[in-house]
Point group: C2
Chain length 699, copies 2
């Protein structure tokens, strides 16, 4: 889809509505009326054979689109599903550039074939398609309301895109109350044509758009979407609400849109990595949009300063700050001195700064000025309770003044009812963020501070490559041919070797010299276990068949002689003597690779052993470019590895290298579906892959 085609979509010079009629209740008529009400400046036509040549609502009506010689930039179709194909064919004759298909009755009710046919028709004829089963679209700057939504929002800097029509109506109603404006307001419907991808692609550089907000129930192409977000999220925040984290929500969503959502944890990891702001409820989305639309370009760092006229409310805010992972800054003693000199003696100059119940506006002003001029906080929360002498409206104006002139973000929380509303109304009219409850302000500040800033990434130069890629591919091919679900022990070992992973070596011997040579390769730093390997020798220990802690040649000789003696004495058939590296017990970790249906290969790290599932101490990142040190650092087992209660720290550098190479292995071979290494023993010297499974994509 070319950008120029989309330009005519977002800013058409002619619009036709197919399905408008005299009946004002019908959706087609509602949409035509909406187009007229918004004072669309271009050509407008109604299409309905019943009214050919007539004029309804001042709009000339044609029988068919193709009756018009000039191609329409945009055609809005609101006819029953069974008629839509004919209308699209008519549009093709007209050389229509863009279609919004409002009509329902397609994929969402199982009628996938018709949806597909229309999709193909549009694609083959270079027509941009929005819908079907959508509310339409509103482009305030183009003065176009091609939707059946009630009301026309202000011009603003938010591009809002929703997969749910009902969510659109709620957001519109909310935004009109709060004075929030939009650059674009788009209901995606079934996404047969345009999806979140094309919108981001086309509007990323549009200066009218400063914030993207998405309500999504499924992703067209998760990887592409994430890449696009990654590119722009530093300059234009991308806010996403994507329900479906719970089992029940997945079920409800499936019956609602038939979509299959990616694993919620993978989704979270992917959005975080791309620098998106993922919100978990509509309230959070509304909060974040309100602040962003007012506070574009402000500092949203983690260091919070709080000013309050009520101690108790400040204490509550302290709790909430910690629980939302913001930093309630310890102010410098210089700053506290400055505050002390400017505030009454009873004031508390520690953060949260308590300017005491009788504070009037001047005291708020003083505290704001001192905080604003310091470089000690990134965001300021101003708490106000309606006490007897509190100047609510004047204080609201004072806060708005500061908000306009400083780089720090400010949010006001006026706690109460009718009295504080007066202040909140002033703040709203002056486009300064305000909430009734501090918990909402703090949660919003936290969501904004959590946004991962996208660094100019020069991806770490890969210096390691496996020695024998084609041999490894052959092993995978062989396993695939045999339709095996996982690699054999031998093939697995070949992969471990090729990726220079540390694992316990072993070999079975009948010749003493060969065996001794192998065993000696471990001495003196490592030990081996020497034991019998024979199908018929089940009870090895009872036959004195296992020698542990063999770390010298004389001990090896002793073990060999004893085992050889047993073999001849008991006449064990097919007997070998097995020499295995004896693994020092270390901290057990798990490293895994999974394939997500949307985002591809995902790296998992966490506490290992048989209790992995119960302990739930794991973290994931989407490949490539996982931040492995951070992954280790944010788990509990990562803290264990650093050494607890006098234990020596474990070989974290080796573990990092191990994880890196496992990630390369997964990236290098698409045939690998999953890797499960549990446990890896991390000792003081090594990270040893003790139990390894490599699963195949074909399985």
């Amino acid at each position: 889809m070319s950008n120029s085609a989309l330009s005519s979509f977002f800013s058409p010079s002619s619009v036709a509505v197919v399905g408008a009629s005299e009946n004002a209740e019908k959706l087609g008529s509602v949409i035509l009326q909406n187009i007229l009400d918004a004072q669309f400046p271009g050509k407008i036509r109604g299409i309905n054979p019943k009214y050919t040549g007539k004029t309804l609502m001042g709009v000339p009506f044609l029988s068919r689109l193709s009756d018009e010689k000039e191609p329409f930039d945009l055609v809005v179709i609101v006819v029953p599903a069974s008629f839509t194909k004919a209308v699209v064919e008519d549009a093709i004759q007209n050389k229509t550039k863009n279609i919004i298909l409002i009509s329902a009755g397609f994929g969402e009710v199982g009628n996938i074939e018709l949806e597909h046919e229309i999709q193909i028709l549009c694609e083959q004829n270079g027509i941009t398609l929005l819908g079907p089963n959508c509310l339409g679209a509103i482009f305030p700057f183009a003065k176009l309301n091609a939707s059946f939504a009630d009301g026309f929002p202000e011009e603003g800097n938010i591009c809002f895109v929703s997969q749910s029509g009902a969510f659109c109506t709620a957001v519109l109603d909310w935004a009109m109350e709060k004075g929030i404006g939009f650059s674009h307001f788009i209901s995606l419907g079934n996404k047969a044509g345009i999806s979140e991808i094309e919108i981001l692609e086309h509007l990323a550089d549009d200066p009218k758009v400063q914030i993207f907000a998405f309500y999504l129930e499924s992703l067209r192409n998760g990887n592409r979407f994430i890449k696009l977000i990654e590119k722009i999220s530093n300059t234009k925040p991308v806010v996403i609400l994507q329900p479906g984290r719970s089992i029940k929500a997945l079920e409800a969503s499936a019956s609602h849109t038939g979509s299959l959502a990616p694993n919620a944890r993978v989704l979270e990891a992917a959005y975080k990595k791309a620098g998106a702001i993922q919100v978990l409820s509509m309230r959070e989305m509304f909060g974040v949009l309100k602040v962003l639309s007012f506070a574009k370009g402000k500092n949203f760092g983690r260091r919070l300063g709080i000013i309050t006229n009520a101690g108790g409310v400040g204490v509550e805010a302290s709790d909430l700050t910690e629980e939302n992972h913001l930093e309630l800054v310890d102010l410098s003693s210089e700053l506290m001195d400055t505050l002390r000199k400017s505030l009454p003696a009873e004031a508390n100059t520690k953060n949260p700064i308590d300017i005491i119940g009788d504070a009037k506006t001047d005291r708020y002003n003083t505290a704001l000025e001192i905080l604003a001029k310091s470089n000690e906080v990134d965001q300021i929360l101003v708490l106000l309770t309606p006490q007897r002498t509190t100047e609510i409206e004047k204080t609201a104006n004072c806060i708005a003044d500061w908000f306009e002139k400083i780089p720090q973000n400010i949010i006001a929380s006026f706690v109460g009812g009718e009295k504080v509303w007066k202040g909140i109304r002033i703040l709203r009219s002056r486009k300064t963020p305000a909430f009734r409850f501090s918990v909402e302000a703090i949660r919003t500040m936290s969501l904004l501070a959590n946004r991962t800033v996208q660094m100019e990434k020069t991806p770490a130069l890969r210096t390691f490559f496996p020695s024998s890629a084609s041999v490894l591919q052959n092993l995978l091919d062989e396993a695939n041919v045999k339709n095996e679900k996982s690699l054999s022990a031998e093939a697995t070992e070949a992969f471990l070797k090729a990726y220079e992973l540390d694992f316990p070596l072993s070999g079975g011997f009948t010749d003493k010299e060969e065996a001794k040579k192998f065993a000696s390769s471990f001495f003196p730093d490592r030990k081996v276990v020497v034991k019998l390997s024979a199908p018929s020798a089940l009870h090895k220990t009872e036959m004195k068949g296992v020698f542990l802690d063999v770390s010298r040649e004389d001990l090896f000789d002793e073990a060999w002689e004893s085992l050889s003696h047993s073999i001849s004495k008991f006449k064990i058939p097919d007997a070998k003597i097995l020499i295995q590296e004896q693994i020092p017990k270390g901290t057990e970790v798990i490293v895994g690779i999974h394939s997500d249906s949307t985002f591809g290969k995902v790296l998992l790290f966490g506490m290992g052993g048989i209790y992995t599932e119960i302990l739930q101490d794991t973290t994931i990142e989407v490949l490539p470019d996982a931040d492995i040190p951070s992954m280790i650092g944010r788990t509990k087992v990562g803290k264990v590895l650093m050494g607890v209660r006098g234990e020596a720290p474990k070989a974290i550098a080796d573990l990092q290298k191990t994880m890196e190479h496992i990630a390369y292995m997964a990236e290098d071979f698409p045939d690998i579906f999953a890797i499960d290494m549990n446990p890896i023993f991390v000792t003081e010297q090594r990270a040893i892959c003790v139990d390894v499974k490599i699963l195949l994509a074909s399985a």
Copy 2:
């Protein structure tokens, strides 16, 4: 403090204000005006020597309280702190029954002595004291506003008590906007006299009070408070906001009220046990109070039914339901059939029930009726988005109708702006709970469902008592005399034996027959370790000084001979041969006792070993009557004990007995300050206390 005295406090027939004057700005004048505005029907007097014999605002003024022959029921004092003592002495002469001391300048600024003097004066003369440093009190049913708060709330069923004056003003403002009424509205201030305790004691049986709400920063007597809550929380919900969960909040609170809060986890455990509803923010408190004041006596169970006219909003609610630990009920197939017959074909009859975007009121009514008549849900969430044909006001009335007549709780969430406000206003005027966002509705439902119902408890009959209580007390006394911080190994062993706890036995021997008798007591089921015990024999292993896995007499003989040989060969002085039970390795758990400054002895259970602090898998309950099976069940290590991946389950019954007996030990001896058992090895057969420390209260 007798109840009759408090009766005259809550419903006085005469009131005097000390400190009112011609200056309307002064707090004393504000309070006198408030009393007049609320139309207090009893006798009112002003006290101020400047206006003796005069009448201000229609109120006769006296020079001193004692100039009035009749004792005042209530005297409100608003004079500078330095004059308060004289006024209280004057009140004593008048035989005043109750005092509200508004004045600040006492304990909160370090002036503890004066506060204490006044406290003693009041106590000795049977005067009930509220304050100092408070906003006053409002008793709507008595038509008394003895506070300097702005506005007089409606009569209602909430008794609201706050340790923060500013919080009072915010709540009052909010309540007046939302139409929420109060039975009592009390600002506690420094709590020199009345505290949360006396209020609960006196008002527990007052039929005007149906809900108690507390904002507290410290507790006068935590144990007593909890006991009182336990008694009434089944019939009258007790809602508590007590900030101070975070380190920073504790610091802020300390500078605010000088109070020392109990450990936040202990507090949470205590409130939960007592059946209180602990809220974490003002928003949560407001939400819970709104619903409770409208929905008194409703069913607040965990089974949630959702009705929505928007699929996406339903999916979001599904996520939030799971995250708030409510049960999104799987409706029976019969119920879904009934719904299917009554709703359009496109409707989704699975919970959340999607009645589709074009739903008018009749469809909401149908779904509500079917859910209400079923016995399948406890609470119903009705979601509405303002779609084109949505009948917002009519639907609000429909919901209010159902709310009035069914036992299930209903909360409406109307998502949007101005349009849905119309519906929310109707719901508010009809006293039906409504929120703008489903997340608030769901969170509130969850808080209400979480309330622990207080069973008629017949405390479990204690069948175990230690054999030698006086001997044990002697051991503690001896340790106390020596000023020891913890019990010696011998004394600890005596406690373990007396409380029948399982621990590894050991003994040092020089006589072989005695040693063999001791060792044999373990055979054949258990093993012992036989080793040298001698200060000079440091490197035991090199001297072949340790024999593991000794489980038979012949193995013992072998070990004894070898060690005896070493002793004589190396001429080791003071050598003994040590026999220790060899402990089978089990799952490591921690069991601990801590003494909380407020709630006394607390039992802790969780994952043990050296990683306890990192893994943070512990749970606590306040003693006595801890629910030990539930404690084990709610930890991760509890799931490990049940047997993971084919492991046999561990001896959970023995662990329970162990925990019970440790709790008894702590309860029986106040001198025990803390017990730390980490690890306890829980094997398939036993719970063995491997490492035990008993700390003393004197330490």
